[in-house]
Structures are given as structure tokens and as C-alpha cells.
């Protein structure tokens, strides 16, 4: 019986990983054959680069505490979207006036378009992400303490 043999093969958990990896391999092969993918021109949050700005790769589009327009999916749901984008802490404001590029370290400083997306408009993603990290940490520390 073919079903019994398949079931017997799957019964050994050592075989699952190679099987899944093989399936993924064929999936990506099929993906190559199904190219090209039509890239949509109307993207959310498009990237604009202003080389002359002192905040070069992450120019905020305006001084702090002004609401800049950003291309989010549902503008009605986030009435204050754009305020976080333009926000700069006093120190980084000073840094951006004195130096070129230095004022825009994106992850450490509060403010900027990435923070706007991560905290505000797509905040639920970040909540789930933090929860996953929390769960993984709980697993690791429980197993660590157990032994």
C-alpha cells in the first residue's frame, strides 16, 4: 500500500526537514519559471531620496512638529500620521544642522518614517513581533533553568 509507505516514511521525524526543504526547493524553482512578476507602480510609503538634505537617506520632509504627508493605506485611521515622521530629538536636530548624514541614525532615535510605520500605522505588526520575541525568550529561559 502506497499510503502506508508514505505514512511510514513520515513517521520518522528525521525525514521531515529534508522533505520540507525539498518542497521549498521545488517551490522556488517553479517561482523562477513563473517570472516575471509585474511590479506595481502604486506602492505604499514610496522611498524618496534627496541627496542635498543633511538627513540624506531618511529625509523627514519638514521641521519637527509639522505634519508631513505620507502615503499610508488608510489616512482616515491615523489622523496624526506624519508627526512622528518629522520628529527629531533636540540633539539629533543639532547634529543634522552641524553635520551631513549624522543626524539620521534610524533605529536608536525616536522619530522618522520607519518609526512611523512600525509604531503607528502598522503598529499591530510590531506588537506581534515583540510577543514572538517574548515567547521565544520564555521558552529559552524555561529550558535553561530546567536543566
Amino acid at each position: 500500500m502506497i499510503i502506508r509507505r508514505i505514512s511510514h516514511f513520515l513517521c520518522n521525524y528525521e525525514n521531515i526537514m529534508p522533505l520540507f526543504a525539498g518542497a521549498c526547493m521545488f517551490l522556488f524553482m517553479a517561482g523562477i519559471l513563473l517570472l516575471p512578476i509585474q511590479y506595481s507602480d502604486s506602492q505604499l510609503y514610496p522611498k524618496t531620496i534627496d541627496r542635498n538634505s543633511t538627513l540624506d537617506p531618511y529625509d523627514r520632509g519638514g521641521p519637527p512638529f509639522t505634519q508631513v504627508t505620507i502615503a499610508d493605506q488608510y489616512p482616515d485611521n491615523s489622523p496624526t500620521a506624519g508627526l512622528v515622521t518629522s520628529f527629531l530629538t533636540p540633539f539629533s536636530l543639532w547634529l543634522s544642522q552641524v553635520t551631513h548624514h549624522m543626524g539620521t541614525t534610524i533605529v536608536a532615535h525616536p522619530g522618522g518614517i520607519i518609526d512611523e510605520i512600525l509604531y503607528n500605522t502598522r503598529g499591530l505588526d510590531t506588537v506581534v513581533e515583540a510577543t514572538i520575541l517574548f515567547v521565544a525568550f520564555a521558552i529559552a529561559s524555561y529550558i535553561f533553568r530546567k536543566v
Partner: protein
């Protein structure tokens, strides 16, 4: 028809085929884990090919999920193989020998928090001080780190609800989330501290 996007996708997909082929043929458990860590990069590559600000914001959750699962899995691997103390050559510095590395790193974070920004940095640095005081009574268990991870999680949820339901107070929410990320970074760094401290203690 074949824009830059498709050339990029083509290359990433070829890399994915090669990587998954290697994974399918690998038999050693540890090597499988290492290979999967490499394969994770390919998913980040496909996200990055979007080329918008959204892509950059999606990479961060993707990266974190991969790292989180890797953390849990490597701990399971250690238990499964019965590895209890793994002698590695640590840094030969006296403070780390005394398992005080979390404290040193906290001081570093406090200083960094103060340099980072003016009045907002006050909150950040103050929080770093709290971490410093808690870690003084820290004795080789992960309870404290778990608690800090829990606090950062709660802060983030709190900030999220302010953003969603009281958008007028966006500034409070931004600061809450910023402190949340600082705590998360602190937790990860003090974890490095425990790993070093373990062998000498």
C-alpha cells in the same frame, strides 16, 4: 517587462534553490540550524526588493522573528545534546569574570541614552539607571531578563493602544515605544553578559 525587480527576484530565487538543496541534503542537526540561519537572509532579500520605506519597516519584524526562533531552538539543541557548560574562551577582563557584565553594559546604555538626546534622553537614561540598580542583585538566573523583556513588551502594547485610540497623545506613545526598544536592547546585551559570566562563576 523584466525590470530591476525581476532581475533581483531571479537572483534571490536561484540562491534559495541552492540553499534549500543544501538543507535537504544536510544530516547533522547543528549544521541544519546554521544553514537555516543563512536561508533566513533570503526572505529578507525578497522583502528588501520591494524598495520602499515599507520594505525597511517589514524587514525588522522579519529579522526579529528569525532571531527569536533561533534563540529558542539553540537552547533546545543544547538540552537535547546534553550540553550543560560549554567552555569557550571569554574576554580576560576582571569585571566580566565577576559576572558584572550586565552592570557595565547598563552603564554604557545610560551614557548612550544621555548622549542620544536632550529631554527625551532623560527618560531613556533614567530607565537605564533602573536596569543598573536591578542588575546589582543579579545572580545567574534569567528571571530578571525575563522580567525586563516582559516590561518592554507591556510598554510596547501600551504605546500601541495610545497610537490607535488616543492619536492626539502620539508623543507619549513614541516615547513609550522608544523606551521599549531600549529595554529590549538592554535585555539582549545583558544576555551576552550572562553567557560570558557563566563559565567563571
Amino acid at each position: 517587462m523584466w525590470g530591476h525587480y525581476n532581475y533581483g527576484i531571479f537572483i534571490v530565487m536561484i540562491a534559495a534553490v541552492i540553499a534549500f538543496l543544501a538543507l535537504a541534503r544536510e544530516r547533522d542537526d547543528l549544521h541544519k540550524l546554521l544553514l537555516i540561519d543563512l536561508i533566513e537572509i533570503l526572505s529578507l532579500g525578497i522583502i528588501a526588493l520591494l524598495g520602499t520605506d515599507l520594505a525597511e519597516a517589514l524587514i525588522l519584524p522579519g529579522l526579529t522573528v528569525g532571531i527569536a526562533e533561533l534563540l529558542a531552538l539553540s537552547q533546545i539543541y543544547c538540552t537535547k545534546e546534553g550540553i550543560r557548560s560549554n567552555p569557550i574562551m571569554g574576554l580576560d577582563i576582571e569585571v566580566i569574570k565577576k559576572a558584572d557584565a550586565p552592570m557595565i553594559l547598563s552603564i554604557f546604555l545610560v551614557v548612550y541614552g544621555m548622549i542620544l538626546s536632550g529631554f527625551t534622553g532623560g527618560a531613556v537614561a533614567g530607565l537605564g539607571l533602573v536596569v543598573l540598580f536591578i542588575s546589582r542583585s543579579y545572580r545567574e538566573d534569567l528571571n530578571l531578563l525575563e522580567m525586563a523583556s516582559g516590561i518592554s513588551w507591556a510598554l510596547w502594547i501600551f504605546a500601541f493602544f495610545i497610537f490607535m485610540f488616543l492619536p492626539g497623545f502620539w508623543f507619549v506613545a513614541l516615547m513609550g515605544a522608544a523606551i521599549g526598544i531600549l529595554l529590549k536592547v538592554t535585555v539582549k546585551m545583558s544576555l551576552v553578559g550572562t553567557m560570558w559570566g557563566e563559565q567563571h562563576g
